[in-house]
């Protein structure tokens, strides 16, 4: 698709944690690109440094070496072009603020008129289906609803890419399906680019247009898989497609091989 420009470029990213009893290489060598408007999922075996990778991309951690580029500009710190949705919604939302206050907080320092800001906030809260709970406090809501608040806060910030770190790992299975569809919907209707990190293989295949399979630590990109499922997805019919089963089996195999260390770095 030539009309899609490169949004995010990662080249030879490497991250080593220093410690007194030896250095720990969390990320070996990761390179990939992501185009504007894409929904890319990243899966990998547990402990492969997914969160580390994500923090490097979001500018929250400084990589040991390598390059992260956003719109052709190197990422050196948190950037307004990115918004992160953390796994721990309970700790990422501020309990002393209402739902509305939480969504509004990152917009305070943006140069917006009162009206524009209010509109962005209301719009985002409506988009995640929480208009009725705007004046509640996060802790008065269920886990799934709290994660919706975090998503609303991220989209109100109007980033170019939404970075989600295992966002649904802590919610129950039914809520999770709803939230997955919400992400697909926001992606389709609002043309938001999404980078979605997960440890759930089914989720990655169901959500993604592309799936990046990571190796065990020290991590590299073991496979860059295009998900050729129809863009209109549905929890029941899509998951019943033979192609869905093939893809998830394939990813599953890859991860099993990664865990056993049967793969060779490029």
């Amino acid at each position: 698709m030539p009309d899609r420009s490169t949004l995010l470029r990662v080249e030879h990213l490497r991250k080593v944690y220093e410690s007194t009893n030896g250095d720990v290489e969390a990320i070996g060598d990761i390179s990939f690109t992501m185009r504007s408007g894409e929904l890319v999922c990243i899966v990998g075996p547990s402990g492969c440094g997914k969160t580390t990778l994500l923090k490097c991309l979001a500018g929250l951690l400084r990589p040991t070496s390598g390059l992260v580029e956003m719109d052709g500009e190197p990422v050196t710190g948190p950037s307004p072009a990115m918004a992160v949705v953390f796994q721990e919604y309970g700790r990422s939302l501020y309990p002393w603020l209402t739902v509305r206050g939480n969504v509004e907080l990152p917009l305070r320092h943006k140069r917006l008129s009162r009206q524009e800001r209010d509109k962005l906030v209301s719009d985002a809260i409506e988009a995640v289906g929480l208009a009725h709970a705007a004046r509640s406090h996060p802790w008065q809501l269920s886990g799934g609803m709290q994660q919706r608040v975090a998503i609303a806060r991220a989209i109100a910030y109007q980033p170019e890419v939404l970075i989600m770190d295992e966002p649904f790992a802590a919610v129950d299975a039914q809520t999770r399906a709803d939230l997955e569809d919400l992400v697909r919907e926001l992606h389709a209707n609002r043309k938001i680019s999404v980078l979605f990190v997960t440890h759930d293989i089914d989720e990655s295949v169901y959500l993604g247009e592309r799936v990046l399979v990571l190796s065990a630590s020290p991590t590299w990109v073991q496979e860059d898989l295009t998900v050729d499922l129809p863009p209109q997805r549905d929890q029941i019919s899509t998951r019943a497609l033979p192609r869905f089963t093939e893809l998830r089996t394939h990813v599953y195999d890859q991860i099993q091989r990664a865990k056993r260390g049967q793969t060779v770095a490029p």
Binding site: Y17, E18, S19, T20, V24, A26, G47, G49, T52, S217
Partner: protein
């Protein structure tokens, strides 16, 4: 991936900085009277104060006064703790008593113990009992309140488990209530130890029974600034030792207990 790096260098740096801070404070203290910012009659040279401390430490009379202070401290703390444990356990275990005593406790507890000094003087003159009355009153509440919290904090699931296995009342008390309440008790005793020391010294200052507090008052009325500052430093060191010892004891009894509780002093 753990980021436990740089532990040793950091703790070294911490000690170094702490020493720098302490030395800096002493140097400033020395400089203020040297430069004449405050007359050395009111703020004596730190060197003089330390020389006086060394002198006092060699003096048997000093240790006898310290002994007086610590005796009333120890007796007061012991009596208050014993009374508070017995009454706290009874009141904490019987819901009727807890509700009936609530108002009385809420009224008596905020009464500043020093308000009782005149009464203590009337009853006991300048004997140690006068000081004990105040010490016990103040430290009793610290332990009492914590014991009530502790006894009431027994986990509902744990209690139901104990019931379902048919533990007798006596067994429940020794295997369930006591272990739950013990960390609370230790917190209470630590707070009470600090409070008891404060009031032991205060009582000596105001009532005039022999001890360190009386030396502070005598130094003041004699215009002996060096002695006054020296004794203040001694009480600080004493407080430090009491805090450290009881914090250590508390931490040992708290090692299995994850919760952090709010504290109240005095």
């Amino acid at each position: 991936m753990h980021v436990l790096s740089l532990r040793r260098p950091r703790s070294l740096r911490k000690v170094m900085l702490g020493v720098v801070g302490l030395t800096g404070f002493l140097v400033v203290w020395q400089l203020v009277p040297t430069l004449g910012l405050i007359n050395s009659q009111y703020l004596p040279y730190v060197t003089d104060v330390f020389a006086r401390l060394a002198e006092e430490f060699r003096d048997l009379a000093f240790w006898r006064r310290l002994g007086y202070t610590m005796t009333s401290w120890a007796i007061g703390l012991a009596v208050a703790t014993a009374a508070a444990v017995v009454l706290g356990t009874i009141v904490g275990l019987v819901p009727f008593l807890r509700r009936a005593t609530h108002t009385v406790v809420e009224f008596l507890r905020p009464i500043p113990s020093v308000a009782l000094i005149p009464l203590a003087v009337l009853l006991f003159g300048i004997q140690m009992q006068a000081a004990l009355l105040i010490i016990i009153y103040a430290s009793f509440w610290q332990v009492f309140v914590q014991v009530i919290y502790g006894v009431a904090d027994v986990d509902a699931v744990a209690r139901d488990t104990a019931r379902s296995f048919g533990l007798t009342r006596r067994e429940r008390l020794s295997y369930l209530v006591l272990p739950t309440a013990l960390p609370y008790l230790m917190t209470g005793v630590r707070l009470a130890a600090a409070v008891a020391l404060i009031l032991a010294i205060t009582a000596e200052m105001v009532i005039g029974n022999p001890g360190l507090g009386r030396m502070i008052e005598l130094s003041r009325s004699a215009g002996d600034a060096v002695g006054l500052y020296a004794f203040v430093v001694v009480t600080g060191l004493l407080g430090l030792v009491v805090n450290l010892v009881f914090r250590f004891i508390e931490r040992r009894s708290l090692s299995w207990h994850q919760s952090v509780r709010g504290e109240e002093v005095l």
